[in-house]
């Protein structure tokens, strides 16, 4: 078994004459949290969707755990978990029912009680998704992505729109999922999030990867080039103040 669970080589996707993904190559190690960063329109989501077998691959190859994605889309879907950006679920459907349905699409059954407990949603088992708060919805969305016990979990902007407490709570959850041996590939706009969670990050712009390394090394490289912040770096920032004042306790 190779150390890399995902090998992406020269991946390409064109929308008309626009190269949304323009020759992207990287590999993800088994059991790490890998982040894809970049401004809007950089091609992050398109890259993820090609790896997830959601979108046809126009060029290049993508091999996940030894399986060629473009040739075995059903097999790939069977072994991954996906939380798409702004995931939404059918209304008037209990969370347990939704989980049962998602599990059934993999031909499996799921212990909904345990899964919901792991995501701190036990008391919401009979609730409908439209009654959940933002943080609860994201946690449920991750629960739904875990019903098939995936080898790789894809999270597309998992913490966008959440309050600082819910964000920290989700970080803990993602770390505990990683600790259970699941490889996590995520996109985010928050650099603090990437720094905290990701073992390595790829920074994309204009459909290309322009940097790929661990957050620490990327920062050191920048400093080596003589970069200096205009403002003296303080020992705390405003978010630290916010968390200190309002506590880490998860709301709603």
């Amino acid at each position: 078994m190779s150390n890399a669970i995902l090998e992406v080589k020269n991946l390409k996707k064109a929308y008309g004459s626009n190269m949304a993904v323009d020759g992207v190559s990287f590999s993800v190690k088994r059991g790490e949290v890998f982040g894809i960063l970049g401004p809007n329109g950089a091609g992050k989501t398109t890259t993820l969707e090609m790896i997830e077998a959601m979108r046809p691959i126009d060029g290049g190859t993508c091999v996940l755990d030894g399986i060629d994605v473009s040739k075995n889309s059903r097999k790939i879907k069977q072994m991954i978990g996906v939380q798409p950006q702004t995931a939404s679920f059918e209304e008037k459907t209990k969370l347990t029912e939704l989980l049962e349905f998602f599990a059934s699409t993999y031909g499996e059954r799921v212990d909904t009680t345990k899964l919901l407990a792991d995501m701190q949603l036990s008391e919401k088992a009979d609730a409908y998704p439209e009654s959940l708060s933002g943080g609860q919805r994201q946690r449920f969305s991750i629960a739904a992505a875990l019903v098939n016990k995936p080898t790789v979990l894809f999270l597309d902007e998992p913490t966008t729109g959440l309050d600082p407490q819910a964000r920290r709570n989700l970080w803990d959850l993602i770390e505990s999922i990683r600790d259970n041996g699941v490889t996590v590939i995520l996109t985010t706009h928050y650099m603090d999030e990437a720094e905290k969670l990701c073992d390595r990050v790829a920074i994309m712009d204009g459909g290309k990867i322009i940097a790929l390394d661990s957050p620490d090394k990327l920062i050191k490289k920048l400093l080596k080039r003589g970069f200096k912040k205009e403002k003296q770096v303080a020992q705390a920032n405003l978010e630290d103040v916010f968390i200190d004042l309002t506590g880490k306790e998860l709301r709603a």
């Binding site: 879907k77 798409p84 995931a87 059918e90 459907t93 998602f102 699409t105 739904a144």
Partner: protein
């Protein structure tokens, strides 16, 4: 294979539960067709109670006329308006439509004349010209009442008589005929308006996209929806039946197995139409006009509200090829003529053709986002 069917059954089960939690869905699937049934049932239902509101003025003090008034009061055909005491008042009430006619027993009505030895007289019936039917009916009812009385006084052997007897066969009412059209309408609105609203909305909200990240296959998702909608269609038709039979005495001459099987087939075909349209449309703006384009011609030309035999021949020929037409015709033949499914060859052939065609199209044009 069982593993492949698990999502079908799981989804169908949840889908049915979800529907019964959704008030809007319940309204459009169950209540809306019922409203049509109540309206049409009210208009065309069995009219058993012919009754007349009459004014009665008795100017005679004879024992016979007293007796006659009592008889009229007991007669179920007449409801006597006690407030009418003068012709003037009666005319006013007739003008308003609250009284159909006025019966006046003139002075000396029913007095016994010396030469004949039995009572005689002429009852005067007054009705307004706009209510000809009431006048004629009332006249003939009174005449038959008098004929009976006359026969008691003057024994006459009548050479010709008419024997009238009701047969066991109950004739079909207009509602019996329209009812099949209303069942068709129920299935049409479930099959076409449902999915053309729901699927595009689910696409806009990314719900179908989320499903697409799982290994679910299009046929599994279709089968699940077909299953739940067939079940719901059967429930809706059953409800219509119960109400129609209980409230409006609609007659069912065929067998229920044929009815159930045809209902399921019809629901699957019409749901296929909705699935093709809603599965293709990217958003609600695309779907709504498409749904109307598909549903309205069927609603008006397949015999839901107007019988097709009233249409010009070329239009009948065209509407023969709509999927709703063989369904309504088939339901009508089962309900009003007692045919079985095996005797519905042409209708089944047309529905079968649509079944294959529409699902081929639906599979081709379906998109998850």
């Amino acid at each position: 294979m069982m593993k492949q069917l698990r999502p079908v059954f799981t989804f169908a089960k949840i889908d049915i539960r979800r529907l019964f939690r959704d008030k809007t869905g319940i309204f459009f699937i169950f209540v809306f067709p019922l409203i049509f049934l109540l309206v049409f049932g009210g208009i065309f239902g069995r009219e058993t109670d012919i009754s007349f509101n009459i004014g009665l003025i008795n100017n005679s003090d004879s024992a016979f006329s007293q007796n006659f008034v009592e008889q009229l009061e007991e007669n179920e055909v007449f409801t006597i308006n006690e407030e009418v005491s003068s012709e003037e008042q009666a005319l006013e009430e007739m003008n308003r439509g609250s009284v159909d006619a006025l019966i006046t027993l003139p002075e000396g009505f029913g007095a016994v004349s010396d030469e004949a030895g039995y009572p005689s007289g002429t009852a005067e019936v007054l009705y307004d010209r706009g209510n000809e039917q009431a006048g004629v009916t009332l006249g003939s009812i009174l005449e038959s009442v008098f004929a009976e009385i006359n026969a008691e006084f003057v024994i006459v052997e009548t050479p010709f008589t008419v024997a009238v007897e009701a047969t066991e066969i109950e004739g079909l009412t207009t509602l019996d005929y329209i009812f099949s059209g209303l069942l068709g309408f129920t299935i049409l609105s479930l099959g076409v308006f449902g999915p053309t609203t729901v699927f595009p909305r689910m696409k806009e909200r990314g719900i179908l996209r989320r499903y697409h990240t799982t290994p679910i296959r299009v046929w599994q998702y279709f089968a699940a929806n077909v299953l739940s909608n067939s079940f719901v269609g059967l429930m809706a038709v059953a409800l219509m039946f119960v109400v129609a039979v209980m409230l409006f005495d609609v007659s069912m001459r065929g067998d229920y197995i044929s009815l159930i099987l045809l209902t399921i087939l019809g629901t699957i075909v019409l749901f296929g139409v909705g699935l093709a349209a809603g599965g293709w449309a990217k958003n609600e703006n695309q779907a709504a006009p498409l749904a109307n384009l598909v549903a309205f011609p069927m609603m008006f030309l397949s015999g839901v509200f107007f019988p097709r035999f009233l249409m010009p021949e070329w239009l009948q020929t065209v509407s023969n090829f709509f999927p709703l037409t063989p369904l309504i015709d088939g339901l009508r033949l089962i309900i009003t003529e007692g045919r079985t499914l095996l005797e519905l060859g042409p209708e089944l052939a047309m529905l079968g053709g649509w079944l294959v065609l529409i699902y081929l199209v639906a599979f081709r044009v379906f998109r998850w986002e």
